[in-house]
């Protein structure tokens, strides 16, 4: 039980990553693929956060003189995640804006039908 407790965040994160990739792999609708991408990114972000997480830890701020660094969660992954979220947002918005143009051109969002570019 203890093992699961320790690794629950990792399990959750990789669960999300697998769901995301699986969605991207099997879904034909472009919007659903984007949703899959979003889930994947969330999973990765969760993973990064859990790397630096310590249970019952405190925020990494030396607000009071008595706080020790030992119990602080690692601030670096949080900074990384912030960046990753911003990048993810950019990718997502680009992908969605292209969905609009895609629908205008092809009249469909079914990726199985959008295959003029091949071979």
């Amino acid at each position: 039980m203890n093992i699961l407790y320790d690794y629950i965040y990792y399990a959750g994160a990789f669960g999300l990553i697998f769901i995301g990739i699986f969605t991207m792999m099997v879904k034909r609708n472009y919007i659903k693929v984007i949703i899959g991408l979003s889930i994947l990114e969330t999973g990765v972000n969760l993973f990064l956060i859990s790397v630096g997480y310590i249970s019952n830890g405190t925020a990494p701020i030396f607000s009071n003189p008595g706080i020790e660094a030992k119990n602080m969660v690692d601030p670096v992954p949080q900074a990384l995640v912030l960046t990753a979220i911003v990048i993810g947002l950019a990718v997502l918005s680009l992908a969605l804006s292209m969905a609009i143009r895609l629908y205008k051109h092809f009249g469909t969002l079914d990726l199985q039908q959008i295959k003029e570019q091949r071979w």
Binding site: I21, L37, V44, G52, V91, M98, R101, L102
Partner: protein, 494 residues
Amino acid sequence: MNEMSILDPVLLIAIPLGLAFLIPLLGLVSKKIVRWIPVVGFLFNGIVALLILPHVLKQPIIVKIGGFVPPFGINLYAGSVGMLLASLIAITGFLVSIYAVKYITKGAEQKYHILFLLLLTGATGVVLTGDIFNLFVFFEILCISSYALVAYLGTRSGLEASIKYLIQGSIGSSFLLIGIGLLYGQFGTLNMADLARQIVDYTEPSVFVSMVFMITGLGIEAAIFPLNAWLPDAHSSAPSSVSAVLSGIAIEVGLYAVIRVLFTIFAVSNFFIFFMVLGVLTVLIGEMSAFAQKNIKRMLAYSSIGQIGLIVFAFSISTQLGVAGGLFQMVSHTLGKALLFLCAGYMIFRTGSMEISSLEGIGKKMPITALCFTIGTFSIVGLPPFTGFASKFMIIRAALANGELLLQILIGLVLVGTIIEGAYFFKIIQTIYFKGAHKTDNREEAPVTALIPMLILVSFIIVIGMFPNIIDKVLQPAASELLDQVKYIGSVLG
């Protein structure tokens, strides 16, 4: 550092980035001035990079951003490899942006120039950074701006290629991030030198898994088989100036990142056979797919895959000679492929079609462009006296110097790829010069702004091809820098 403040590698990233964000403001002043901003930016970058280059050959410059001493904070590592590629990026960027002045006239011009600057900023950042998360960030700048640029024309094919590229590319980025997270979780640092110091055995499963994730993530941008399915679509649908940069810079930078991660962080020394076979497969599949193409840009894109395979092969020999040959092949591929895409751009622009058959008789109508194209193909195939020959010579020499039978067989297969490549490129040359003289439509020579970059690239190709010693002086320290992990750690951490 104080006495040469202009020679600060940070400027190589800061100036184009700053200019990119300045463009919307300057666009309010004058629409025309915007076109010349990338030109100015990369001219500056080129000069600075070439001025820094001789300094770093002796000693790498470590830039501590914000004054934090590594491994804390982010640092830039301007070594020989980084500066070699940074100069290459700046020069190519400069030439392509001159080309784009007249070429990009339709659509959201300002946004094109912003994205173009960002793309190359990202590329420069990747080659100069000494921090893996920073690497990820620059990598994303590179990727996102290339997704957008591929779809720049807003055509059916462009959009399709762009979304496919985006889907695969963002999976790659996620994998890269997972790899970085795994490394950070184990070693608590993001600094490449610090990581390199702490990783003793890369075959340990936890370290190995993070390496695999990073390789796969970066490998997608580097277009290693079988991760390269996006490449032919994206490179053929983008505007030609973008294709030139994507083929000439983006995939090379991706490959650089793979190599840097493998050599420097993980100190992989015997990943020979696997990557070698992968490289040869990439060569053969790329060239064979290119052979049957009817679309000129698609053919060039597949040929890029083949060239990347050759570079992968060269690096995986992982001797001084092999790595130098791989870097040299990068340089000659950048020059050659950028030239080919630039030429093809105006040929397509004038004929209005990407079909190879529509190029018939273009040798008469656009003699200079056709000549440049021919020289480009000769260089890519590896015929003397052009650069492609010198770099191929170096790679074959590295392969044979090793003395292993397997390597000799593999180099034979690579040469089979070269023969196939020769066959389809020579067919195009015949189409250009010796077919369909009857076509008398009003195709005219490309404008001067397009011819100047082409001719400069041609002169580079010929000069470096005849006097490879010029670049060999940079290649040798660069190769030893990539191979010597201990020195890298020492120069960053002191």
